[in-house]
Symmetry: C2
């Protein structure tokens, strides 16, 4: 159709979304322009606001608009327990169990050498500083039971042990290869209850 | 995670994309914020530019930044033939056959009563005005061979016949239920060659 440049650019820009190939990007662009211009505008505004306002919580590393997020500031939480998860959605899964009342640290990823994501990219030093604040007594590793999540847990357990912390791992109540995000609350609760010392 | 409002809003805004549910929207938001902020910014800019610059070609109804698109302005095209397609991607499929040198009219949809899309929503009056410019001799219906595409072709053929135009339909060289966008050029070329008078 001799597509004009701003159409091409929009299609190309939509491909930055994970799982969106050239065909879906084209379909999305036409849909937005033809059927949902208000939605497109809302998305542009939403992206701008999120990029501008959101940054990492100084304590748990999750996204927040404040310096420290609400959960980290809560006085009703047991600050002696620190649960380490890969992503914010994983902390949501933990919350939905109503079986955990400690604090969180969100890695925002997992060790993945093939993708060039190592301890430096995940800023493990920040985690160690957080975990050794003198208040945290137990670190609960709740990374996924994928190969990468397991490797991350093993790596972290050694370094956290070396810093004199009690380190536990949620139980493999989740199926092998499973991810927290796709598990029901009961399974995640079970896995939390059966956490074992990390050896 | 007590997600902040601009994060919630971004997740909600991403759901305006076709085929994107709550889980994928969340995944997309985290991906953009954590791993591809430049992509997110590019997408916001791309949406803004597309919304501002793109509108419908005054002749073929496809998207263009100009009043009339390049193809409609080309003097090398046979203006006596007008091929009606559902979407711009379908015109692309026709072009890739190198078997058609006429002009196009893009419906930007198809009749779909269940979705509330009728002749008015598709602005059929504009199409009729375009087809009865005195230059067009033959209208080639190249809507998809889906139920809705077929219904659209039948509906249009009657009204175009009534206006004294020769109306043809590309041959059912495409499999039943097939869509132009997903057919190879040879099949689409065959369907074009074997077009028959619309009865
Ligand atoms: Zn926090
Ligand atoms: Zn045009």
């Amino acid at each position: 159709m001799t597509p004009s440049s701003s159409l091409d650019e929009l299609v190309e820009a939509l491909r930055c979304l994970p799982g969106v190939g050239p065909k879906s990007a084209q379909r999305m662009a036409y849909h937005l322009l033809q059927r949902d211009r208000r939605g497109a505008d809302r998305l542009a505004r939403g992206l701008d606001a999120a990029l501008q306002l959101l940054h990492h919580c100084a304590r748990c590393n999750s996204f927040t608009e404040a310096e420290v997020c609400e959960r980290c500031l809560s006085s009703r939480r047991d600050a002696s327990q620190l649960c380490i998860v890969e992503m914010p959605v994983d902390a949501n899964s933990m919350e939905q169990t109503h079986a955990y009342n400690g604090l969180y640290y969100v890695l925002m990823g997992r060790l993945s050498p093939l993708d060039g994501i190592g301890p430096k990219e995940l800023a493990f030093e920040r985690l160690f500083a957080r975990a050794t604040d003198g208040v945290v007594k137990e670190v609960i590793l709740a990374t996924n039971f994928t190969n990468e999540g397991e490797a991350t847990a093993h790596y972290l357990s050694e370094l956290l042990h070396a810093r004199g912390l009690k380190v536990s791992r949620i139980a493999r109540g989740l199926p092998v290869g499973g991810e927290l995000e796709f598990s029901d609350a009961a399974t995640v609760a079970q896995a939390l209850r059966e956490r074992r010392d990390f050896v």
